[in-house]
Each structure stands twice: as C-alpha cells, then as structure tokens.
C-alpha cells in the first residue's frame, strides 16, 4: 500500500515537472506548448547519449543546460513572434514545432526503443515497510520535491519571482511598470524547457526511450494543467499528485479502466468547476 502510494508520487512528480513548465510558459507567453512533450523527449535523448558514454550525471547536466538554451532560442524566435496572436494560433504553431522536433529525433536517434541506464550510485533497492523499493525512485521523488520547493521559494521571495508572478497576471501592465517582460520570459521559458529536460532525464530509466514517449506523458500533463486550473502553480502541484495516485492505484484495482480514469476525472472536474481546481487566470 505504502509502496504503491510512493510509486504514485514518482509519476506525480514527473508530471509536476512537466506541468509546471507548461504553467510557467503559459503564464508569461500565453502559449500552450504542444511541443513540451517533444522537449521532454529530446531532453531524455540528449541525456541518454551522454550517459551511454559513461557520464550519467554529466548527461543530466548537459541535457538540462541544452534544453535551457533551446528554450531561450524558442522564446526569442517563435514565442515572441506569437505574442500578438491568439491562443489557438499558438497551439497550431507549437503543434508544428512538435512535428519538426519529432522528426529531428527520429533522424538522429532512429525509431528503435532504447534503454536508459540507472546510475551506479542509485542502483539497488531499500527496504520500506518490509518491501524492497528502488532507490532510484526515491531519487525521482526527491528531485521533484526539491524543484517544487525551490520554485515556490523563488516565486515567493525573490524580486524576479515577484516580476514573474506580476507578468503572469498581466504582462502589459507589468511592462508599463518598467519591467522588461521579454527578458523575463527568456528566463522563464528557458526554465520551463530545462525542467522538461530534467523530467526527461530522470524519467528515462523508468520508461523506454522512443520518439513517441513524449505524447503519452504530454497528454497526462495537459490533464494536470487543466484540472489544476490553467496558469496555477499550486493547482498543478495538487493535480499532479492526484493524477499520479489515480494512475497507480487505477492500474492495480481497476486495470481495465486505468488508462481512462484521468480523462473521466478531468471531465468530472470540469463539469463541477469549468475553470479547474484553482480557478483560471484567463
């Protein structure tokens, strides 16, 4: 029971890392990033390539940095140009980006399934309540907790965090106050995609690498974002944990319905509260 709950937290943590990136990007740029799953996947592949050479932790670092740079480039070239367009246009453009990125991955790494190794430091299991539990999974929980805490602290207590919250509420008024929203969003989008890369690398050993690995988790993280309320950080955190638990306990107790439970939950919550758990800014 405890073990299952922990497994649910592992998946919830991965979802949180992705969903919070989506929320960050949506808050600043009002862009619903359909390419986020593809960025997650590219992060995993970059990490894999370095890890295959024997540097697992190097892979983590390289992947996160590379994804941050890709994110900044995306913001400067695509998302900035989308500022004046409406939400649905941005959805289509990022869908186009998704197609491009998936093709990039299949041309570089091929379509075969790849196995991401577990680092030597974190292999093995540990006994929790009498049952063995992989240490690596604890590490995943730890990573998402650290990210959640430091992100909250950053947004709450630093000056840039204040600017980010302000710009997420109203980018126009914020720029009238003399804050360079473009520079701010460079940081925020870079952070969002770096988190996607981080999520991809830590998820790598739990999943198998394939050019479609981003699709499944992207849809789950969309569900998280919508359930949590578009643009809400706390909502995304709660919803990610909820979906993680449902994903896991559903697979055990209702295996025939497990894959559609999140969808049903989403439909139910949207009937109850059309703007999601935490309400929506838009």
């Amino acid at each position: 029971m405890l073990i299952q709950a922990l497994n649910g937290i592992v998946y919830g943590g991965l979802l949180y890392l992705l969903a919070v990136g989506l929320v960050l990007i949506f808050g600043l740029r009002e862009v619903v990033n359909f390419a986020h799953g593809a960025l997650f996947m590219i992060g995993a592949y970059i990490g894999f390539s370095v890890a295959a050479a024997g540097y697992w932790w190097g892979g983590l670092l390289v992947s996160v940095l590379a994804m941050a740079i890709i994110g900044c480039a995306l913001d400067a070239t695509v998302f900035r140009a989308l500022r004046k367009h409406d939400h649905m246009v941005t959805v289509l453009v990022t869908f186009g980006l998704l197609l491009i990125l998936e093709t990039v991955v299949t041309t570089i790494w091929g379509k075969a399934y790849l196995r991401y190794p577990v680092p030597a430091l974190l292999s093995g299991t540990i006994d929790i309540a009498g049952s063995p539990f992989p240490i690596y999974r604890l590490f995943v929980i730890g990573v998402s907790l650290v990210v959640a805490l430091s992100l909250t602290a950053w947004l709450r207590f630093t000056r840039i965090g204040l600017y980010v919250r302000a710009a997420s509420t109203d980018a126009r008024v914020t720029s009238i106050q003399g804050i360079n929203v473009d520079r701010l969003s460079l940081i925020v989008v870079g952070l969002g995609t770096a988190l996607a890369g981080l999520s991809g690398v830590v998820a790598g050993p739990l999943l198998t690498l394939s050019p479609t690995m981003g699709n499944y988790i992207l849809i789950d993280s969309f569900i998280v974002v919508v359930i949590g309320g578009l643009g809400s950080f706390a909502g995304a955190f709660a919803a990610a944990l909820l979906i993680g638990q449902i994903h896991n306990f559903g697979a055990i107790y209702l295996p025939w319905a497990a894959t559609i439970l999140p969808f049903l939950l989403m439909v139910g919550i949207l009937i109850w509260r059309p703007t999601g758990l935490a309400g929506s800014r838009t």
Binding site: I219, L230, F263
Partner: protein
C-alpha cells in the same frame, strides 16, 4: 476571444430564397462534376489518393463546423470518425446485425454521443476545450488499444463486407472510381447541407451564442441545445468519414482515434480557412497532397508539414480560401 474562432465572420444578411437557390445550384453542378471525375483523373492510384483526401476533407469539415458555428476548437474529432469506423467494422465483422443496420448504428451512435457530450463540454472554452477534447479522443484511443477482444487491440482488424449493402455490390465499394464518386457526392451534399444549416434559424442561433452567450440567453434562447446540436452534426460528418474509410480499407485500427489524426484535421481546417464552410475541405485536399509529395521526397515529411503549418498560420490567418477570396475581391475592384 479567439480570432480564428470568432471575429470577422461576416454579419448575417437577410435571408433570401435566391441565395439558397444559388447554393443548391452550385451543389448540383458540383455533383455532376463528380460523376465525370473517373474520366478526368488519370489512374486508379490517383483516384484512390483523391478518394482518401476526401475522407480527410469530411473529417476536417467536421472540425470546421465546430469552429464556425460554435467557436470551439476541437483536438479530438477523430473520436467520432473512429467510433463510426469501429462501430461499423465490429458490427459487420461479428455479423451482429445486417450491414444496413450496422451503417445506421455507426452513424447515429457518434451523433448521439456527441450531442450528450456537447451539453457538457460546450461550457468549456478556448484552450481548455482543446485539451478536454484531446483527452476525450485519447480515451477512445486507449480503449480501442487495450480492449483486444473488441477488435484485436493494437494490431487492428480486417473484416469482410457482406456481398451487398443497400443492393450495391460491396466489391464495387472498394473500387477507387466508385468510392471517389460516392465520397465526392457525399462531401458535396454535406457542404450544401451545412451551408443551408448555417442559414437556418438554429444555425443562426448557434452563431449568436458563439458571439455572445450571455446576451443570447437574455434574448430568451436556450444556449445548451443549439450548441449540442452543432456538436452532433459535426460528429455525424466525422462518422461518415470513419465509415467510408472502414468500408474502403476493410480494416479498422486504434490509429483512427489517435490525437494526431484530430490534430491534422484541425490543421487542415485552419490551413484551408475555418471561417468558410468549404475551407476545411480545401485545406484537407491540399495538405493531403503536400503530405503525399513530401512523403515521397523524404522520410522527414512531418517536419515539412510542421514547417508549412508554422508559416501558414503566421502569414495567412484566413487560410487558403480566405486568401483566394481576398485576391478575387482585389481583382474585382480593379
């Protein structure tokens, strides 16, 4: 408010029977042209490709109706085409009912389901609506994927058509020339029907709700039913596409439900011009041939399509038909 979904739709002109007549006349001409197609199109392969692009056109039209009449952008319309195809395929393969009854069920089941869903999901708008429909569509995909007893899950299922459907030999339904004429005729009838619907009382009420729901409610209209009706109509058109595909290929697979199918249908609708009833169909045919061409040239065709999508949405927000109309008006002015 979304500029694709709303805004520059032309204000409704007073209804005149003359315009309705013109639409019917244009439809009749298009129908007659359809019967000449097997002689115009050079080869069986070309006919087959054109027929398949018309399946896409029906699905894209379905997405387009939702945008045009409801102002809702769906990322899960493949749920209804897939459901139509699956209902038909499964019922025929298991000989549960006759082929005619299977056809009827395959068309009505998605329609009814969409009506009920429409009562609920029409309340959600914008991006959340896109994600919600994406999730609904993907739920169908998961069911078709996992439920092996239904139709062999991931592998997909081939099935044999009964010898005759409505007295037509079913082998001829898998002949490209006949399928092409049939699909073309259906598409024309659908487009004419949708044009007339948009001009009807219900269609205009739906458009009024799209533009301002609150005000429509103040005027005393029920805002739930007309919107749900548009969902049902859209799903009906999608179901036709699914049934035609299943019939033509004699094969159903979970891929019919996949969200990329819905996504491409949406792309087609936008590229063609979602503010026009014929726009999505035009976009579908154009994109189908771009895909086909790019697929022959290179393995990385999705990147070409993706790049085209980025460029088109940023430079031609009105789509191909919008651009054509603009050029036409400019020439007429000269």
């Amino acid at each position: 408010m979304s500029t694709i979904a709303q805004g520059a739709v032309r204000p409704a002109k007073p209804r005149s029977d003359f315009a309705a007549l013109a639409v019917l006349l244009a439809g009749a001409v298009a129908l007659l042209t359809g019967f000449a197609l097997p002689w115009i199109v050079p080869s069986k392969l070309a006919m087959s490709l054109l027929a398949q692009s018309l399946f896409d056109a029906l699905l894209a039209t379905s997405v387009g109706v939702l945008i045009l009449q409801n102002g809702r952008v769906s990322f899960g319309q493949a749920a209804f085409s897939g459901l139509g195809g699956y209902a038909f395929g499964v019922l025929v393969a298991r000989k549960l009912v006759g082929a005619e009854a299977a056809l009827l069920i395959a068309l009505l089941l998605p329609t009814l389901l969409a009506f009920l869903l429409g009562l609920v999901i029409a309340r959600v708008s914008g991006v959340a609506h896109a994600m919600l429909t994406l999730a609904v569509g993907q739920a169908f995909y998961e069911i078709a994927f996992r439920w092996r007893e239904l139709a062999k899950g991931d592998d997909g299922m081939s099935f044999d058509l009964p010898a005759r459907i409505f007295g037509i030999s079913s082998r001829s339904l898998q002949d490209p020339a006949i399928m092409l004429v049939l699909t073309w005729s259906i598409l024309v009838v659908v487009l004419v029907g949708l044009t007339l619907f948009a001009r009807s009382r219900t269609g205009m009420i739906a458009a009024a709700i799209r533009d301002n729901e609150e005000r429509s409610r103040f005027l005393g209209f029920s805002t739930m039913v007309p919107r749900a009706l548009v969902y049902a109509i859209a799903a009906f058109v999608a179901a036709i596409s699914g049934v035609l595909q299943a019939t033509y290929n004699g094969y159903i697979a979970p891929q019919m439900f996949h969200w990329t199918v819905s996504g491409f249908a949406l792309i087609m609708a936008i590229i063609g011009g979602a503010k026009f009833i014929v726009g999505p169909a035009v976009g579908a045919v154009v994109l189908f041939y771009i895909k086909d061409f790019a697929g022959q040239v290179a393995e990385y065709w999705p990147a070409i399509v993706g790049g085209a999508l980025v460029v088109v949405t940023l430079t031609m927000p009105q789509g191909i038909v919008g651009l054509a109309r603009l050029l036409w008006l400019r020439r007429a002015r000269r």
